[in-house]
Each structure stands twice: as structure tokens, then as C-alpha cells.
Symmetry: C2
């Protein structure tokens, strides 16, 4: 935790602060290089980052002391002269406490390594808790995970349902009874750790971008569950949108002749794609009829998403949800419909697939929220 100075008295003169700002920026450059590209020598790092050898050695020394970077010995291979010593991002330096509040009736948590590996899981039933009671439940789960950590905890990352503002206030999550609930502040005050909260679909998009196979920096993750929501990483950065509601596509009307929606309108994307609707449409059908029905849904999904994929020139469209529904005819028909509707320059390069990260995509994305904010890596 940061030690604050006495009121009205700055901790350090301004010039010093600016130097520290540059130092923090350079430190993040080095960590990012080791995180994305793997072990490197100090000379490699100087070349990759444009920093001087002296600055690199100085900063690497500090990072080794902190335990975030480790010495890995001489570079393998028989070059002439003194072999370079490699350093690498230390995967066991820290844990991240990660929470996924988007599951139906449960809050799920995990300790996640900076490599994205889930070390340990815990969860708790919501049992109808709402408002402050739901916040208290989340706090308990986070506290349990902090207590279970065997390494320093870098911070707490949370993927929450609903619209979340940049300060970590949940503007609207009806299922948990949260309306303008300052979740990030509440957890930070009680845990004394850095806390970062984002919408679950946005968190999933960060997870795919950093730990999945969708690292192009131009991707949309469509989460299909009880509801439907998307997260967008564009040009490598998470899109928030004007009112923090980017990706909220579940209640966009995509078919005016579609089914009635709980929101009172007709033909929202959720009526096409939400899991309960899909199950109701295909359960009990024989395999051929089931495949037909899922392909029909895929065709309509492709038609609805073509303007989005085209306007954004996306590289990856990732479907995240039950594989028995999404994998196969639905994903195939969505991809076909998109290609038929897009210019070759966009459609040919598009990769549509289901997420390999499965249900963990929000948890590992929550780790990215923390890695990004605290270390500058993603």
C-alpha cells in the first residue's frame, strides 16, 4: 500500500515525480518485453526497448530484487566469446486474486499466476443475496483467496455482470441488485489491495487477447450464457465506449420478426442466442434437425454481426459459452454467413472459433486487468 504524505505537503518535488514516472514507464516496457517475448539478455532488452544498457541493467536489478524477474543463466548454444545471461519474467513471483461474478447463482474465484495458470479455485453460492449482501459475499470470497495465497498478491481482478464504469463502479447489474455500486472502492477499502473491476465480457476479451489464441489485437469475444454480451479489444486496447457500455449487444434488436424478449421488445440478440432460448429450440430434436436449427441460428447471427466485423475489420471473433451448442453447426454457419456478407479483404482473414479457455476466460481476464494496471503488461 502507498504511504500517503501529510495533507497539503507533496511527498516529493515535481521534478523527482516526473523522473519516477519515466522510470515506471521504462520498467513496464521491460516487463512487457519479457512477458510477451520470453527470456532475453540485457542487451536484447536494450535493443527491444530503445533504452540504454545502463538503464536496462539498473531496472532489471531492481526487478530481480522485487522477485518479478529472475536470472536464468547463460544463453544455450555455443557462440564465441562470453555467453549472454538471460533473465525472464518470474511466473511464481506473485498471485492474482481473480473473481468471476457472471455465473448463474455462484460467485467464482481463483488464484491465478501471472502466466494465466489457475492455481486454485473457490466459489460460493449467491442464494439470492443482493445489493450490500452480495458485495459482502464477494468480499468474503476475495478474503479467503488472499488468505490462501502462498505468494505476494499483486491485486484483485473482478469480472462483473452489467455496465461497469472506468472507476470500477457497477452502474447496473440487476441480477445482483447493484445500481451504482462502488464495488472496486468497497473491496479496496476492506482488503487494502489494488482492485480492478470490469464487465465480464470485456474481461473475457482481455483474457483471450493475452492468454488465448486471439492475440491479433483486433478481436470480439461474444459471451453466450443466460444473457449475451460482447467484449472488444481494438488496436490492442479494450474498448469502453461513450457510456462504458461497449459490447452491450444482448438487447440490440436484430430481427423485428423475432421472439419476444424479457426487456419488452422483439427480436433482441438474446432471443436468438441466449442459452435457455437455444436449449428450448433444440432440446429433444434428432441430430439432423438439431444441426439444422443451430445452423439457422448461426446464419442469423452472421447476418447481424457482419456490419460490426466489417466496420471494425476484426481478425478474431471468439464465441464463448456451452460448446455443445456453439461448436459445430452454429459456429460453422456463422462463419459462412459472415464470409458471404463481407469483402474478401476482411472476410478472408477472419478467424471465427470458440474459446479454448472455456469457463476460465473471465477469471484469467481478471488477472489481465491487474497485470495491466499494476505492471503495464498485457
Amino acid at each position: 500500500m502507498t504511504q500517503l504524505s501529510a495533507p497539503g505537503r507533496p511527498l516529493r518535488p515535481r521534478g523527482k515525480l516526473l523522473q519516477e514516472d519515466a522510470r515506471r514507464h521504462h520498467r513496464a516496457l521491460l516487463l512487457q518485453s519479457l512477458f510477451r517475448d520470453g527470456p532475453a539478455s540485457r542487451a536484447d532488452l536494450a535493443r527491444a526497448t530503445g533504452l540504454t544498457r545502463v538503464t536496462v541493467s539498473d531496472l532489471v536489478g531492481g526487478l530481480v530484487e522485487e522477485g518479478l524477474v529472475e536470472e536464468l543463466g547463460a544463453r544455450p548454444g555455443g557462440r564465441v566469446g562470453k555467453p549472454a545471461t538471460l533473465v525472464g519474467f518470474a511466473p511464481d513471483a506473485a498471485d492474482v486474486v481473480c473473481l468471476d461474478l457472471s455465473a448463474d447463482g455462484r460467485v467464482c474465484g481463483a488464484l491465478v499466476a501471472p502466466t494465466g495458470r489457475v492455481r486454485l479455485r473457490r466459489s460460493a453460492a449467491v442464494k439470492g443475496r443482493r445489493g450490500d449482501d452480495a458485495v459482502a459475499l464477494v468480499l468474503r470470497l476475495a478474503r479467503d483467496l488472499v488468505a490462501l495465497a502462498e505468494r505476494p498478491v499483486l491485486g484483485v481482478g473482478v469480472g462483473s455482470p452489467g455496465v461497469v464504469d472506468p472507476g470500477g463502479t457497477v452502474l447496473d447489474a440487476p441480477n445482483l441488485g447493484w445500481h451504482g455500486t462502488p464495488l472496486s472502492r468497497a473491496l479496496h477499502e476492506r482488503l487494502g489491495l489494488p482492485v480492478h473491476v470490469a464487465n465480464d465480457a470485456n474481461t473475457a476479451a482481455l483474457g483471450e487477447h493475452t492468454f488465448g489464441r486471439a492475440d491479433s489485437g483486433h478481436l470480439m469475444v461474444l459471451r453466450v450464457g443466460t444473457g449475451v454480451g460482447a467484449g472488444l479489444v481494438l488496436g490492442g486496447a479494450l474498448l469502453h465506449g461513450h457510456g462504458s457500455a461497449a459490447g452491450e449487444v444482448g438487447h440490440v434488436v436484430v430481427d423485428e420478426d423475432g421472439e419476444e424478449c424479457a426487456c419488452g421488445r422483439t427480436g433482441c440478440l438474446e432471443t436468438l442466442l441466449a442459452v435457455p432460448r437455444l436449449r428450448a429450440r433444440v432440446d429433444g430434436l434428432d441430430p439432423a434437425a438439431r444441426a439444422d436449427a443451430l445452423a439457422g441460428t448461426g446464419r442469423r447471427l452472421g447476418a447481424a454481426l457482419a456490419p460490426v466485423v466489417g466496420a471494425l475489420n476484426l481478425r478474431h471473433l471468439v464465441l464463448s459459452g456451452p460448446p455443445d451448442l456453439l461448436d459445430g453447426p452454429l459456429a460453422g454457419a456463422t462463419a459462412d454467413a459472415l464470409r458471404r456478407r463481407l469483402m474478401p479483404v476482411v472476410g478472408d482473414d477472419l478467424v471465427l472459433r470458440t474459446s479454448d479457455l472455456g469457463e476460465d476466460v473471465v477469471l484469467v481476464g481478471a488477472a489481465v486487468l491487474v497485470l495491466n494496471a499494476e505492471l503495464g503488461v498485457s
Copy 2:
């Protein structure tokens, strides 16, 4: 132009370069503050940018010497003590040579002030020139404008049709016979000035963002002409997309039962919205039937764009093209259709309007390309 050092011999030691990097960054912070927020005292600037008073005074001194910033005298109003001296961005310090290559059969150019004011215009007929001949025509127009400038020329900005890569190579502009044409390099080599090229719709989006009333940082400009294309500024930054083709929505199929398109498919957005198609559909109709037909087009446009506006949580959607077609029933019906199809949290805040900048939107956007790259302002 930059004076290059002898091969293999760095011009300056690294540490010095890093300091210059910081200096350039701080200089851009000051210019951006004066550009966006208007005149300020040195103390105001220190507060706004977080730089020290000493750094601000030093940098402002340099900017006044260069002529980019001017002393404006004492702040009006009767405060006690010595009144603060204001400095401001100098609108007459420089000209930007701006080119719009998206018009039908003409290349249009202008000298544009850093305030976005068009000082002087020139244009030339294309007369079927293609490939290198078209590049030569553009070069001649740019040269004429450089010769006409009465102030230092900050650089050359170009809005070109087609997909343009980040290095200013036009990947594909069939009307000018350009395929992989290094337009930026060709102009830079012959003019000896900084040159920045982008797609015309992307350039228009920058123009609206900086000089129009769509300064939210979350906007799409839809250009409606012989073809249809969009430009997106998201989170304040121009979106390029995976293959530099963001905004290329003209040949996205939006209606499988629509009209046949020149590209060989059916129901592309261009068949709905391109000016020749619109005119063919409404010319000769009586006013009521014409309004009906335009409103029908607007309804279909709103349906096609709803997933885009929803996914991106846009604040501004700007239609740019002939006002007699776009203003009125078409824009009104598009807005209605969007609101009906979007969640209130997104739809209520959406502003849909036609561009005030008219046909100048690409020219002033081309100035933003240069201001942004050369001074760090936008």
C-alpha cells in the same frame, strides 16, 4: 528534413535521445492543452499538464521562438497582485497543404490553417489519369499549394479513396488505378515535406472529431457518395483495423433480398445508400413519395447499423454527403430505427446528424493528420 548521421555512427548518445523524446512529449502536451482548451498562463499549463513551472517556461519559450505559440498579454479581469500573462496557440503560424482525392473526377486541395479554416482552394480534373499519371497530378497540385503558401508549411495531409496502410501506401483504389501505390513516399521524396495519407472516410472522421461538433471521441462518420465508406474514432483514436480496412462497410451485405451490386453480390450497403442509387430511386417522385422512399432507406440503414452503434456504444453518428438526400426523412428515420433497436443506455445518448463541415470534412481532416503527427495535437 532530418539530417542523418554517418552510417553506423549514432548522432547522439542514447541518454540524450531519451531526454529529447521526453522533451518532444512534453512539448506536445503543452500544444495539445493550448489547442483544445485555448489560451492559458504558464501556471495554468503547469497545473493542466503536471509539468514543473520551470519546464513549462522553458518549453513555451521555445514554442514562442518557433512561432507556434504567441504571447497574448495580461489575463483580463481585476485580480489582486500581478496579473498572469496568457499564451495561446498561434493560428497564423503555419499552413497545412491538404488534399482530398475522393471527389468524382477531380482532385481537390487547400491551404488549411491549424484552426481548421480553409484559406485557399485549388483543384484539378483527373481526366482519366490512372496509376503513375494520377500520382503526378496529385504531386503537381501539392506543389502549387506549397508555392502559394505565405506561411511555413507544416506538412501535407491526404485523404485518399481505398484502403491505405499505416505507412501511407494505397493498397487498393481502383478509380485511380492504384494498387500498392506508395503515395506518401512518392510525395515526400519530391516535396521534402512530412506527408501523411489516410483513407478519405477515416480522414473525415478525424475532421469531425477535431473541428466538427462530434468531439466525444466515440464517433462514426458515414460518407455517402459514389460509394459508401465509414471512418471510426473510438476512445479518441482513429481505428485502423486488422488489415487497415476498418470502416470499409460499402460492400457489407445488409439485405440479401436487395439490389444487385457492381461487386457481383446482392444487397451491399452501397446498393441501399450510394448517391446514384438514391437518386435513381427518388428522382421524379412527388415530395410525399420522395420523403417516404428516403425514410424507407433510413429505416433499413438504422437496422443495419444498430449492431455497430450498440457494440461500440457510439455517441455520434455523422452522415456526410448530399444534404438534399441525407438531411430530413432519411436521417430522421435512421435515428428512429436505431433508437427502437438499441438499449436506452446507448440509444438515448446517441446523436445522429449530418456533417456541418460539408464537403470540406476530408480537407480539414487531412489537416488533422498533419497536426496530429507533427505537433501531437488533435
